[in-house]
C-alpha cells in the first residue's frame, strides 16, 4: 500500500516537475525574447527616435538584439546582454551625471553590429568587394536608423500648449 502510494507520488512528482519546468522555460524564453524586441526597447522614451526610423526600414522585421547582441554562443549573448543591461540600469539611476550628451555606440557594440551585418550579408560580401572601409556603417550609415532625423510630427502644425506641457515649467523641470 505504502509502496504503491509512493509510486504514484513519484510519477505525479515527475509529471508536475516537467510541467513546472516547461512553464519556467517558456516564461524565461519568452521573457528573454521579449527583452530583445523593439517593443520592449522603445518602452524607454530615449529610444523613440531610433525605434521610429527602424520600424520604417527594411530591417523592421528583426529584433533590436538581432543586431545589437553577439550570437556566437548563447552564453556569450546572455553575458553581453546582462552586462549592457546593467550598464543601462546604472546610467539611468546612480550614474545619471555620467550620461554623455550624445549617445554613440561603444567600441564593443560597433564590433558586435559589424559581425551581425556580416553574418546575414555574407553572400553579398562574396559577390562584391567590400574592403575599402573598416565598418559597414561607414558607408551604409542610414541602415537602419538614419532615415530622416525628424519625426512626421515636425512637418505638421505645432500643437498649442505642447512646449509648456512637454518641455517647460517647474512642474516638469524640477
Amino acid at each position: 500500500m505504502k509502496g504503491k502510494w509512493l509510486r504514484v507520488d513519484k510519477k505525479l512528482l515527475i509529471l508536475a516537475s516537467i510541467f513546472v519546468g516547461i512553464i519556467i522555460s517558456v516564461v524565461s524564453v519568452k521573457t528573454l525574447a521579449y527583452s530583445d524586441s523593439p517593443d520592449f526597447c522603445q518602452s524607454c522614451h530615449i529610444m523613440n527616435n531610433v525605434h521610429d526610423s527602424f520600424a520604417d526600414s527594411t530591417h523592421a522585421g528583426l529584433s533590436c538584439n538581432d543586431c545589437h547582441l553577439p550570437h556566437e554562443s548563447t552564453v556569450g549573448k546572455l553575458v553581453y546582454k546582462a552586462k549592457v543591461g546593467m550598464g543601462h540600469v546604472y546610467y539611468n539611476t546612480l550614474g545619471e551625471d555620467k550620461i554623455p550628451d550624445v549617445l554613440h555606440p561603444t567600441a564593443s557594440t560597433k564590433e558586435v553590429i559589424q559581425q551581425n551585418c556580416i553574418d546575414c550579408h555574407e553572400n553579398t560580401l562574396q559577390n562584391v568587394s567590400h574592403d575599402a572601409k573598416e565598418n559597414c556603417v561607414d558607408c551604409h550609415q542610414s541602415v537602419p536608423h538614419g532615415k530622416g532625423f525628424k519625426t512626421e510630427d515636425f512637418y505638421k502644425k505645432p500643437n498649442s500648449g505642447e512646449l509648456l506641457e512637454n518641455k517647460g515649467g517647474t512642474m516638469d523641470n524640477g
Binding site: V89, N92, D101, L163, L164, G169, T170
Partner: protein
C-alpha cells in the same frame, strides 16, 4: 556574503528607481496648462521662476568667447585681423564710423544705446530687433512707431514699458509658451513670397522665430517701416533684382551715397536665414534651432533646449554629431574651419577689388569723363559691393551656404572688374596714368591701415588726389 547582499540590494533599488522613474510622467497630461503670466508680459525676468533652467541657459548669452572668424566678443570689425578697409568701403555712411562684431542677445539694449550709428535723427525702426517692447509699441503707435524719433520718443516709451533685451516674449506666447511671430515685417515678407505663416509646421517655426530678425532688411521710403526684400527670392542676385525694381518703384533707391565713388549704395544686413535657406542643411530639413539650440543636459539629468545662441563650433557634440553620428567632432570642426578659411580669403579678395573699383570711379569723375559712362561704372560698383557685403554681413563666415556664398563673391568680383575695365579704357583715353592711380590707391589703403584710432580711419579714405564725392551732410 555581506557584500553580495549589498550589491543585490543596490541592484533592486536601482531597478525600482528605473521603473518608477519611467512611469511617473503620464499623470501630468490632461487639461491645457497656462503659465499664469499676462499675455502682454515682456520682461525676461517674469519668466525666470517658471522656467529656471531655460532662463539659466539664456543667461549663458552673457558669455563672450570668439571663434576663429566670429564669436561673441564685442570687437571692432576695423581691427587689423578683421576687415581694416571697411572704413573705405562704407565711406560716407555710419558703418564707416563704428561697426562691431555682434555679441549675445542679452546685450542688445546696451549695445544699441552705445553705438555711434544711433544719432538724434535715428528712427524707431532701429529698435525693432532689440527690445521686447516693440510688438506693443507697434500695436499702440501703428505706423508712427517706424518713423518715430529713436532718442526722444521710441526709446523712452520702450523703457517706460519695462522692456528687456531680445528675450522670451519675442518668440514665445507668454501664456502658452507656443512659438509665435511678433515682428510683422516677417509675416508681410513671407506673404510677398506667397507663404502664409499661419500654415507653418513645427519644423518651420524652429527657423521662423529666428528669421524675424536674422535677415536682410531696409527702411521703406514712405514710413521707414522695416521691410525684407524677398518677393523675388532669397539669393543675393534675387534680392538685388528686388532693389532694382520693387524697391525703386516704391521710392527706395539707396541707403547712402558713397564718398569715394559717388555711387548710390545699398547696405546689406545679416541675411542668416536667407543664406541658410539656400544651403545644403536647410534643403535637408534642418532648422536653425537644430544646430543653434541643441539639447543641453542640466541638473545632471534633465534635457532642455539650449537657449544659448552662439556658434555651434562651441557645441559640436550636441549640434553636429547628433546627425553626423559616424564622425569625430574635432574632425568635423576642422572641416568647418577649412570652409571658413577659403570663404574669408575669397571675401577679402572681393573687398579688395571693390576698393580699387571705387577709386577708379573717383578718378573717372575728377578726370571729366562722360556722365553716362560714370553711371554705368557706378552701377557695377553698387552691385559689386552688394554682392560681397551681403556675404560679409552674414554671421557664419560662409558656413550657412558655402557654395552659394562663393558664387556670390564670384559675381562681386565680376562686377568690380567690369568697373575697372571700363574705367581703364576711359582713363587711358584721357591720358591718366594707371600706374600713378594704382600707387595712390595703395597709399590711401596704407594710411587707413596705419591709423590706430578706429573712429578716424574713415578720414584717410579721401585726400587731395581722391576728393570726397559727397557733400557731407550732418548725420
Amino acid at each position: 556574503m555581506a557584500r553580495t547582499y549589498r550589491y543585490t540590494f543596490l541592484f533592486l533599488v536601482a531597478v525600482m528607481l528605473l521603473i518608477t522613474g519611467c512611469s511617473e510622467k503620464d499623470e501630468a497630461a490632461g487639461a491645457a496648462k497656462t503659465t499664469g503670466l499676462s499675455k502682454d508680459e515682456i520682461s525676461n525676468e517674469a519668466f525666470k521662476d517658471l522656467f529656471p533652467l531655460q532662463y539659466t541657459s539664456y543667461m549663458k548669452n552673457e558669455k563672450m568667447e570668439d571663434t576663429k572668424y566670429s564669436g561673441s566678443e564685442k570687437r571692432s570689425k576695423f581691427d587689423e585681423d578683421k576687415e581694416p578697409y571697411l572704413p573705405i568701403l562704407f565711406n560716407g555712411y555710419g558703418f564707416a564710423t563704428e561697426y562691431n562684431e555682434d555679441r549675445g542677445h542679452v546685450y542688445a539694449l546696451e549695445d544699441i544705446r552705445s553705438v555711434a550709428r544711433i544719432t538724434d535723427k535715428s528712427v524707431g525702426s532701429c529698435l525693432t530687433c532689440k527690445s521686447t517692447a516693440v510688438p506693443h509699441l507697434i500695436e499702440e503707435m501703428g505706423d508712427d512707431y517706424w518713423g518715430g524719433n529713436f532718442n526722444t520718443d521710441i526709446w523712452p516709451a520702450a523703457e517706460a514699458m519695462g522692456h528687456s533685451p531680445i528675450g522670451c516674449s519675442d518668440c514665445h506666447d507668454p501664456e502658452t509658451m507656443d512659438l509665435r511671430i511678433t515682428r510683422p515685417s516677417f509675416t508681410k515678407a513671407m506673404a510677398s513670397k506667397g507663404v502664409d505663416i499661419a500654415d507653418a509646421t513645427k519644423n518651420d517655426m524652429r527657423s521662423y522665430v529666428c528669421a524675424q530678425c536674422h535677415v536682410e532688411y531696409y527702411f521703406a521710403a514712405d514710413n521707414s517701416e522695416v521691410t525684407f526684400p524677398w518677393s523675388e527670392g532669397f539669393k543675393p542676385e534675387e534680392m538685388y533684382e528686388y532693389y532694382s525694381t520693387v524697391a525703386k518703384e516704391s521710392g527706395f533707391e539707396k541707403d547712402w551715397v558713397h564718398n569715394v565713388s559717388g555711387t548710390p549704395m545699398l547696405k546689406a544686413q545679416h541675411p542668416d536665414f536667407e543664406t541658410f535657406s539656400e544651403g545644403t542643411h536647410a534643403k535637408a530639413g534642418v532648422a536653425c534651432a537644430d544646430c543653434h539650440m541643441p539639447y543641453e543636459r542640466v541638473d545632471d539629468k534633465k534635457k532642455i533646449t539650449s537657449h544659448w545662441w552662439t556658434s555651434p563650433l562651441k557645441t559640436m557634440d550636441t549640434s553636429c554629431t547628433t546627425c553626423h553620428a559616424n564622425r569625430d567632432a574635432d574632425e568635423l570642426a576642422g572641416r568647418v574651419e577649412e570652409i571658413q578659411d577659403a570663404h574669408m580669403r575669397a571675401l577679402h579678395e572681393a573687398e579688395d577689388v571693390s576698393i580699387t573699383a571705387h577709386y577708379y570711379v573717383n578718378k573717372m569723375i575728377t578726370s571729366g569723363i562722360d556722365e553716362a559712362k560714370i553711371k554705368v561704372a557706378q552701377e557695377h560698383v553698387r552691385k559689386a559691393q552688394w554682392m560681397w557685403d551681403i556675404v560679409a554681413a552674414e554671421s557664419s563666415a560662409g558656413f550657412h551656404n558655402p557654395q552659394g556664398s562663393m558664387d556670390t563673391l564670384r559675381m562681386s568680383e565680376d562686377e568690380s572688374n567690369a568697373t575697372i575695365k571700363l574705367a581703364t579704357e576711359e582713363l587711358v583715353k584721357k591720358g591718366v596714368s594707371i600706374e600713378e592711380l594704382n600707387t595712390e590707391i595703395e597709399k590711401v589703403k596704407k594710411a587707413v591701415e596705419n591709423e590706430t584710432d578706429n573712429f578716424k580711419k574713415k578720414e584717410h579714405a579721401t585726400n587731395s588726389y581722391f576728393p570726397a564725392q559727397q557733400p557731407l551732410p550732418k548725420k
